[in-house]
């Protein structure tokens, strides 16, 4: 399939290749606290979906549902036509986390290699050559070859994040889940990582769900936005969702979306979200 049709079909919403991620009437609640309800979401092959929202709005929880680590309270979730289940080979995952323990004594290539076959039993001596080939390719794809043999703990946050992306991609997944992969990166590296992921979506038809608090590096790249706030949500192209009207409605308090050049600044959302939530990039 060509990238143009994939993205066009994704934008048209539906009548294309069958979606890789499919949520229907999905509801997730912890006790009486509803994170989201009535969520219908299709993510098509090659589509880049940004998942936005204040702290505690249920973005990571959505990832966990897609990974099969947490059941929905009600509704259905499918990955590539099958109900989501733990350990799916079709999903690549970049978890939300801080930099790794600096004393951790594994090399970047080991981390990526574990993403390839770390869940298999045995020592894996027979698949060594294939593993090496895969790992080298994944490292090269994210430009991490140079520091692949250094201890992960000694690498910078940006280098570690690239390795994380390589680890998620080494198994050639259909769906890529990235939970705040831009955390602790400077602006230049935010761009690099975002573009890496966007290119993957374009060139391999990977469906990407990209959780982030940094809107601006991804805005030019995303096809649609899922914006979660306090149990409410909105799905649509950035131009429709990232407006003062839509966000004011979502947050239930006045929110200003200001465009400065090609950047967006969201102001006032901190009152409704209960948390600090001003997207501003230097």
């Amino acid at each position: 399939m060509s990238e143009a049709t994939t993205v066009a079909e994704a934008r048209a919403g539906g009548a294309g290749p069958s979606p890789l991620v499919r949520l229907r009437a999905a509801r997730l609640a912890y006790g009486s606290r509803v994170l989201w309800d009535g969520l219908d979401l299709d993510v098509a092959p090659g589509e880049f979906l940004a998942v936005l929202g204040p702290n505690g709005s249920g973005k990571t929880s959505l990832m966990r549902v897609l990974l099969g680590l947490r059941p929905l309270t009600s509704g259905t979730v499918e990955i590539g036509g099958e109900p989501a289940h733990r350990g799916s080979r079709r999903i690549g995952y970049v978890p939300q986390q801080r930099a790794v323990d600096p004393t951790l004594a594994v090399r970047g290539r080991d981390l990526v290699g574990l993403g390839w076959d770390g869940h298999h039993w045995g020592l894996g001596l027979r698949g060594r050559r294939e593993r090496r080939r895969r790992v080298d390719a994944a490292l090269a794809a994210v430009g991490a070859t140079r520091y692949a043999n250094q201890p992960v703990g000694l690498l910078s946050g940006g280098e570690q994040q690239r390795l994380r992306v390589a680890q998620a991609l080494v198994g050639d997944p259909d769906v890529l889940l990235c939970d705040e992969p831009l955390l602790s990166l400077d602006l230049a590296h935010q761009r690099v990582v975002s573009e890496l992921v966007a290119r993957r979506a374009r060139e391999h038809g990977t469906a990407v769900l990209f959780v982030t608090h940094e809107i601006n590096p991804v805005l030019p790249l995303v096809d649609r936005v899922l914006y979660l706030v306090n149990g409410r949500f909105r799905i649509g192209p950035p131009d429709e969702v990232m407006t003062s009207e839509t966000l004011t409605e979502l947050y239930g308090t006045p929110v200003q979306v200001v465009r400065v050049g090609d950047r967006i600044i969201v102001a006032g959302a901190e009152n409704g979200g209960g948390q600090h939530h001003v997207q501003e990039t230097p």
Binding site: G87, A105, W121, Q150
Partner: protein, 281 residues
């Protein structure tokens, strides 16, 4: 001082069965603990190893009192300890205190059991600081069997175990049963610890279960190479420690821990010079 380097006395002693048993036991122990050590370090389980050793000591003391095989008693104690620690301390924050609680209780109980034991004092002491004459051929068979089981199980679970040790979040998402692997690894460590209690003693098991792993991971970040190095380090410490202790007739543990510590210092030195050279370049 010459006694320390008395080669002929050492060669003489090597002819004795009990010495050969001790060397074999040490070799087995070095292999098993070296193989486990890098994972023990990665999972930050030093304190758990110490706690497990204390309960292996308790088990050994109970066996001594009841007239059973000390090896079997130590093994039972260590496995019970490993299961207890694995089940009670699932949450990371809790693990530390649970180990402290269980460890002190086990040690106290062990001391009480030893006090009740009417036999020779040397036997009592050996459980804590090691005594090579403590290994007879039944013990040796038990050691070798247990070691084989540990190594086979470790080979089977190695990759998922490494995965969940260094990268738990992704490992769980990938379907690695991390929650079952933790107690399983604790039991493997427990068995290896029990083997150590009989040679180097409960107080010094760390010298073989932790130090070689800490030394190896200082000089390499390659997990396979780290495991090989840790095995070599543990073998040198265990077997070398016994060989050195033969002629002077002093307890083995001083030599085993001493060699282990020297290797660790050397590895730190290597890592430091390497860093300096990188920084200079």
């Amino acid at each position: 001082m010459t006694r320390f380097l008395d080669l002929s006395a050492t060669l003489d002693l090597l002819g004795y069965d009990f010495v050969q048993h001790a060397l074999l036991a040490a070799a087995v122990l070095g292999l098993v603990s070296g193989a486990l050590a890098p994972l023990v370090v990665a999972r930050q389980m030093s304190f758990a190893v110490h706690g497990t050793a204390e309960l292996a000591f308790t088990g050994g003391a109970a066996a001594l009192l009841l007239g059973w095989s000390v090896g079997a008693g130590a093994l039972a104690g260590a496995v019970v300890a490993a299961l207890l620690l694995g089940l009670l301390g699932q949450r990371d924050g809790e693990r530390d205190s649970v180990i402290g609680v269980v460890l002190s209780f086990g040690l106290g109980l062990g001391v009480l059991l030893l006090w009740l034991y009417p036999g020779r004092a040397a036997n009592k002491f050996s459980l804590l600081v090691g005594q090579i004459v403590g290994v007879d051929s039944t013990d040796l068979a038990l050691l070798a069997g247990a070691a084989l089981v540990v190594l086979v199980v470790l080979a089977v679970v190695y990759r998922p175990l490494l995965f969940s040790s260094v990268d738990p979040a992704v490992a769980v998402a990938r379907g690695v049963p991390a929650r079952a692997l933790s107690p399983l690894f604790a039991v493997l460590v427990g068995v290896a610890t029990a083997l150590g209690v009989q040679t180097v003693g409960a107080l010094l098991v760390l010298a073989l279960m932790v130090t070689p792993g800490a030394a190896a991971t200082r000089v390499t970040a390659n997990p396979v190479l780290a495991t090989v190095l840790a095995v070599v380090f543990a073998e040198v410490a265990a077997v070398g420690g016994i060989l050195l202790s033969l002629a002077p007739g002093v307890p083995v543990s001083g030599f085993v821990t001493g060699i282990s510590f020297l290797i660790y210092l050397a590895c730190r030195g290597v890592a430091a010079t390497r860093r300096r050279r990188v920084a200079a370049a």
